[in-house]
């Protein structure tokens, strides 16, 4: 509704300025037309998406409706101005098409894809040629033509008829989020087919110039011109591509402008050769993508930034130029017959292609549906033909425009249906996933009566991954930690979970106790954990711990390998416990696709050198295809370490590392909380009674309640928090008996010495503060609860507190901070947050503290207590926007989509801007 209102405002403004001002020049009209087109087309696209139709169709329909042939909101003059953008867009599309074809990614499928394309194109062209030969006399082109003249005309028409629309294809794939063989096959086919069509068209145009235009030319001159037009364009494009790659590598300044300049050069160069710019642009893209991969990736970023508005205007402009009256002038029946014949013959070609390439016959219909659309390149061919041969070329153009109008309006919708039929749409497909973690999502144990009880994991990440697995299905592989775990598994150590709605399998991995202790308690938690956190705890590295760690990782890899069997689902590995799983797995199964999320900070290189097995850890992580960290800082530290320790090559955009013949994409994807679930819990009327229960249980009678929720871990800064509270009670006697701070401490890793001592320290400090500032009959200063709470209880507690303190000495993210914000639907409450957490990077409206500076920490607590409601609301409202906009599902989907789209990404990105809903 708001969108429509906004468009209404824009229309009203346009009407107002036109009515109340004297006539303005073309420039003012063009600017208004472009602005309105962009705004309204996006809204039209969104409107159609709600009817499960592609947005592209919305852009096209919008163009048709407002164009000069129907609504005339965009007049012919304005439409001509839009064509300026089209010139740039067409070259950009060809450039993008070139950037799409990475032969390394196609890899072993290249031969099959090549056979399919060659057979499909060959069969389709032969079929169309035969059809047009026999139907020639009825076509409104040049019924009297015969012999060579007829051959050449039909050849050109056939070439144009089998050209496709890479941009449209990519945009539909991107919009629907389709993943799978059909999407990949269609994308590769349309790009390569258009490359072939470009070369063929150039060739036939040369022949046509000699044969049809009565031009005299000797054979040598024709060959030279042909060589220049095709070879020259390819060579020129390759040269531009190579120069651009060098520029990106060695200069890297003003890249956006240089890209636009390159497109302008490509579109202007060889104007006399007509189509050379498209061929040159495509070969430039091909060179960059295949000969200089890092530069290709950098360029992809540039296209990400700039292409969307250009492409929207392009599609609208295509719609504007679709002369619906052309259908009437040629005869609707003729056009429909030709359109149906084209589709039938292409379908026949697809059948032949799938047979020749030995592909699954079930792919035929879906792949065919992707070969219907025609747009920019086809229009370009038609336009060139009409310019060179105004007489019959003009009639061909009209016929083609009529055909394109039908193909363009049907194509995106049919392709979407084809993808749905192939089960490749996000909403329709089952895309099983393998999650690997140390901790299991459901733990079985015996109660006092010897009955088996099941308990879900309570952590935010575990809950989110569980929700993801419910949707995606597949297998979760985790260490079996429950006493009754063995009793409930079936064959293959598996069981179906969740217990209330079985939707995926949990595969439990058994590890011998001593080995587990050395792997988990030893290397992971006495070595890696303190190594990665900047706290005063020395990491302990023992050879036997490392050996156990690597063996357990190998064991996990073996289990993943068993579960993969013949299938190819992505594998999502969790955290620092499993750093070398991917390396072991890849040794068994080189083509597996894996992603790993490193939940904790990554140390700077000097600190990493403490670890004797750092190179093995780095190598293990670089065996993944996709590696994600919480923060840019962690990612940067990792890249430095990969460079310094392994000599790995960091690609130009800093998003990928080349090492040992492989490429790993390295990104930062900050994790979020399950915002909607926390909202739902908060909205439950039972929360009020839970609040009452907790207030009774903890004896919360104070007017002010503060809260801290942490694992009992030395990185969480709990003693520092208690020191700050000590200062608060010392300086503000009026708060004694008025303020109670509730500290929830969840026991953790109590078999590790550092954790035991921190727990003892906290207990001592709490007792000391309560002894010094507690007053008989009044609420205690500190309430300390040493047990985990379920999320509903936590939400109740979050809403009970006036402020929440997170004072970690170093923390990858800290989800308690985000949970507190998510739970405060009342927009009240103050978050006191350590600057040393990852969350502080996002929650700038918290009271940011340094936990090492006790005085300023205490001041911040006082500020939280005294803060006016208006200020509290402003800060909380701002933080809630951040937390709502980055929930745990968007985190997971960013990583998984990043992993799954590695193969088809460049063109898809071109069709949609970063992290967004697509065209």
């Amino acid at each position: 509704m708001r969108r429509l209102l906004a468009v209404g405002v824009a229309i009203a403004v346009m009407a107002f300025v036109r009515r109340t001002s004297p006539p303005a020049g073309d420039m003012a009209a063009t600017l208004l037309a472009l602005g309105f087109t962009l705004m309204a087309a996006m809204v039209a696209g969104e409107l159609l998406r709600r009817f499960r139709l592609p947005r592209l169709t919305g852009y096209l329909l919008f163009g048709v409706v407002v164009g000069p042939y129907l609504g005339n909101v965009i007049t012919e003059g304005m439409a001509r101005q839009l064509q300026i953008v089209n010139g740039l867009a067409t070259v950009l599309i060809a450039f993008i098409a070139g950037l799409t074809l990475n032969f390394e990614r196609i890899g072993r499928r290249l031969r099959g894809v090549g056979t399919f394309i060659a057979t499909t194109l060959g069969t389709s062209m032969c079929g169309l040629f035969v059809l047009l030969w026999f139907a020639w006399r009825w076509l409104p082109i040049d019924p009297g033509a015969s012999g060579v003249r007829q051959l050449v005309m039909i050849g050109l028409l056939v070439t144009i008829a089998v050209s496709f629309s890479p941009t449209m294809t990519a945009a539909v794939i991107s919009e629907t989020g389709a993943r799978g063989r059909v999407a990949e096959m269609v994308l590769a086919t349309v790009v390569i087919a258009d490359l072939v069509a470009l070369v063929l068209f150039s060739l036939l145009m040369q022949v046509a110039r000699v044969a049809l235009a009565d031009r005299t030319a000797d054979d040598v001159a024709v060959l030279v011109r042909l060589a220049w037009e095709i070879g020259g364009a390819v060579a020129f494009g390759a040269l531009v591509g190579a120069l651009f790659a060098l520029y990106l590598r060695y200069v890297s300044r003003e890249v956006t402008f240089v890209l636009l300049g390159v497109c302008a050069v490509l579109s202007q160069v060889g104007a006399a050769q007509q189509l050379a710019p498209l061929l040159a642009a495509m070969s430039a893209g091909l060179v960059i993508q295949n000969a200089a991969v890092p530069q290709g990736e950098a360029l992809k970023s540039a296209i990400q930034r700039g292409a969307l508005p250009v492409l929207v205007v392009f599609f609208v402009s295509v719609g504007v130029s679709l002369q619906v009256q052309a259908l009437a002038s040629i005869g609707l029946v003729v056009v429909l017959v030709l359109a149906v014949a084209r589709l039938a013959i292409i379908q026949f070609g697809v059948i032949a292609g799938t047979n020749a390439a030995g592909l699954d016959p079930s792919l035929r219909i879906p792949v065919w549906s992707g070969l219907i659309s025609q747009a920019g390149i086809t229009l370009g061919f038609a336009s060139v033909l009409a310019t060179e041969f105004p007489d019959w070329g003009g009639r061909v153009q009209t016929l083609l425009i009529a055909l394109i109008a039908i193909d363009e309006l049907l194509g995106p919708s049919l392709f979407r249906m084809g993808l749905a039929r192939a089960g490749e749409l996000d909403s329709d497909a089952e895309r099983p996933l393998i999650v690997v973690s140390n901790r299991e999502p459901y733990l079985h144990s015996f109660d006092r009566q010897g009955e088996i009880r099941v308990a879900p994991a309570t952590g935010g990440v575990a809950v989110a991954l569980d929700a993801l697995m419910r949707e995606r299905r597949g297998i979760w592989i985790a260490h079996a930690d429950g006493a009754a775990d063995k009793a409930v598994v079936g064959p293959g150590d598996k069981l179906r979970v969740p217990p209330d709605a079985e939707s995926y399998e949990l595969r439990r991995v058994w590890v011998e106790r001593e080995q587990y202790s050395a792997y988990y308690g030893g290397f992971a938690n006495e070595g890696l954990w303190p190594l990665c956190h900047l706290v005063d705890v020395r990491p302990k590295f023992r050879t036997e711990d490392w050996s156990a760690y690597d063996r357990v990782n190998a064991r996990f890899a073996a289990v993943v390998d068993e579960e993969l069997d013949g299938s190819d689902p992505p594998v999502f590995i969790q955290d620092y416990h499993l750093a070398t799983v991917a390396a072991h797995l890849r040794a068994r199964r080189p083509s597996v696709r894996t992603a790993l999320f490193w939940h904790i900070p990554w140390p700077y290189p000097d600190r990493l050198r403490i670890c004797p097995w750092r190179r093995e850890i780095l190598a293990g992580l670089l065996a993944n295809d996709f590696l994600a960290f919480q923060l840019e800082r962690d990612r940067r530290n990792f890249l430095l370490a990969a460079d310094e320790e392994l000599g790995a090559s960091i690609e130009a955009d800093g998003e990928a590392v080349r090492w040992n013949g492989r490429v790993t994409t390295v990104v930062d994807v900050p994790i979020g909380v399950d915002y909607d679930r926390i909202q739902a819990i908060g909205a439950d009327p039972l929360v009020a009674s839970e609040q009452q229960r907790l207030a009774d249980a903890f004896g919360l009678r104070a007017r002010l309640v503060g809260l801290g929720v942490d694992r009992l871990d030395y990185t969480k800064g709990i003693p520092e928090r208690l020191d700050a509270l000590d200062r608060v009670f010392a300086r503000r006697p009026d708060l004694r008996g008025v303020l109670t701070f509730v500290q929830i401490g969840v026991p953790s890793r109590s078999d590790v010495a550092g954790y035991r001592s921190i727990a003892d320290d906290i207990e001592r400090k709490v007792a000391d503060i309560n002894a010094r500032y507690g007053q008989p009959g009044l609420p205690l200063p500190i309430v300390y609860h040493k047990a985990p709470l379920e999320l509903p209880s936590l939400v109740a507690l979050y809403r009970l507190a006036q402020f929440c303190i997170v004072s970690s000495l170093h923390d990858g993210m800290n989800l308690v901070a985000k949970e507190f914000v998510a739970a405060r639907e009342d927009e009240d409450g103050v978050l006191v947050l350590s600057a040393l957490t990852g969350a502080a990077q996002e929650l700038g409206d918290a009271l940011i503290i340094n936990p090492y500076d006790a005085d300023s920490f205490a001041e911040a607590i006082v500020q939280a207590v005294d803060m006016l409601p208006q200020e509290r609301r402003r800060r909380m409202r701002s933080m809630r926007r951040v937390v709502a906009g980055r929930n745990v599902f968007s985190w997971a989907s960013d990583i998984l989509e990043g992993l799954e789209s590695l193969w088809t990404r460049p063109l898809q990105y071109a069709a949609r801007a970063p992290q967004d809903a697509p065209v």
Partner: protein, 385 residues
């Protein structure tokens, strides 16, 4: 502390490709100073881009021939509207203290403008014979009233920070006076009609900004938001052209609305994304428009002299008027008119027929900006460090 994006850093993509590391400053810092939006004069790029424009322009290699410049003409109102939006966003008035700083900045700019206009009327009127004396004085004063700081010299001191804020806020008066002067002087409209035109322009800018906000509120897609920002930019520029009101002014009103209503930065962050193309476009075109002449050099010399005196005097008066909240030499930070001055010159130049006083004005302001930039390298008081 360095700004998140400034002209020195160039195209953000360059940094990405070159893997230029550096912790991003906080949002608050980004919003605190308009300079951090990349609008600051910078030592090398400003000069380089102006020089590149001059070299490529009709008086240089003629790659940007007069016809090519005509073809690029539609970009100018769009870039000016974009700059106006960035100026509006950068105002970011959050407290009474900010309002006081705005008052101080406006006072400083007014004194500077009066000084320049006075010097022009008495000494330079004959250089611009095509321009009415008083109008010419006002127009060149407008170009000199605004100022920008050097991102390379961001300050850690409180005095330095206040000085930065002061010169961040001294552009409003020149932009408004410029809009009035152009509308009156060029359209030869009576004051009442001028006021109506400006109110219309402001209303249109605000309405389009609100339309953008409505659209942004319903999407989580960065790509869509960016398209909406570009759409609003084009509509603002187109509407301003129709109304014959400077697009810089209409854009600034739109930016003010976004700055005030878009605390979640759903649009403003994307507006910033466009800053670099806007800067490069304006600087290169301004450079190409420079037609060197003795009159332009003399006028530039007087412009620099009058402006430098005016800035010192304005800064001192502002510091007296605002109880020494403002350091007396605060205006030193804004010795260069930088991009805003050049944008105002381009705004004025677009309103005059080619080859007349508008061209002279652009040449003088561009040359004066470069000289002022060099001057600001020399004069860097330690107390503002």
């Amino acid at each position: 502390m360095t700004p998140v994006v400034d002209l020195t850093a160039g195209d953000p993509l360059d940094a990405q490709i070159a893997h230029a590391a550096g912790a991003p400053p906080s949002t608050r810092w980004r919003r605190m100073h308009r300079a951090a939006l990349g609008l600051s004069a910078t030592r090398v790029p400003l000069f380089l881009m102006l020089a590149a424009g001059a070299l490529l322009g009709p008086h240089g290699a003629a790659v940007l021939s007069p016809s090519a410049l005509d073809a690029l003409q539609p970009l100018v109102p769009v870039a000016l509207a974009g700059l106006g939006i960035l100026l509006g966003i950068g105002l970011d008035l959050r407290s009474w203290r900010d309002v006081r700083m705005l008052d101080a900045g406006s006072l400083e700019a007014t004194v500077t403008m009066l000084t320049i206009a006075g010097v022009y009327v008495f000494a330079a009127g004959s250089f611009a014979a095509d321009l009415p004396l008083v109008l010419g004085g006002v127009l060149i004063a407008v170009c000199g009233g605004a100022s920008t700081s050097h991102p390379a010299s961001y300050s850690q001191s409180a005095a330095g920070m206040r000085a930065l804020r002061l010169i961040d806020l001294d552009d409003i008066v020149p932009v408004i006076v410029g809009a009035v002067a152009v509308t009156i002087g060029v359209a030869r409209a009576p004051l009442g009609d001028t006021a109506i035109a400006l109110v219309k322009g402001a209303g249109v800018g605000a309405a389009l900004a609100l339309a953008g906000r409505l659209l942004a509120a319903e999407t989580e897609s960065d790509g869509e938001r960016r398209v909406f920002v570009i759409a609003v930019l084009l509509l603002v520029a187109g509407a301003a052209e129709y109304l014959r009101v400077p697009s810089l002014f209409v854009g600034m009103v739109a930016g003010l609305v976004w700055g005030a209503t878009d605390r979640g930065e759903r649009l403003t962050s994307h507006a910033r994304y466009l800053q670099h193309p806007i800067l490069v476009t304006l600087l290169v075109i301004a450079g190409a428009r420079v037609a060197p002449s003795a009159a332009a050099l003399w006028l530039a010399g007087l412009f620099v002299l009058a402006r430098t005196v005016g800035k010192f005097a304005g800064g001192w008066i502002a510091s007296v008027a605002f109880k020494r909240e403002i350091p007396p030499i605060a205006a030193v930070r804004g010795l260069s008119p930088g991009l805003v001055g050049i944008a105002l010159a381009l705004t004025i130049e677009r309103s005059f027929p080619a080859g007349t006083a508008g061209g002279l004005l652009v040449a003088a302001v561009v040359i004066g900006s470069v000289v002022s930039d060099l001057l600001s390298l020399v004069i860097e008081p330690e107390e503002l460090a």
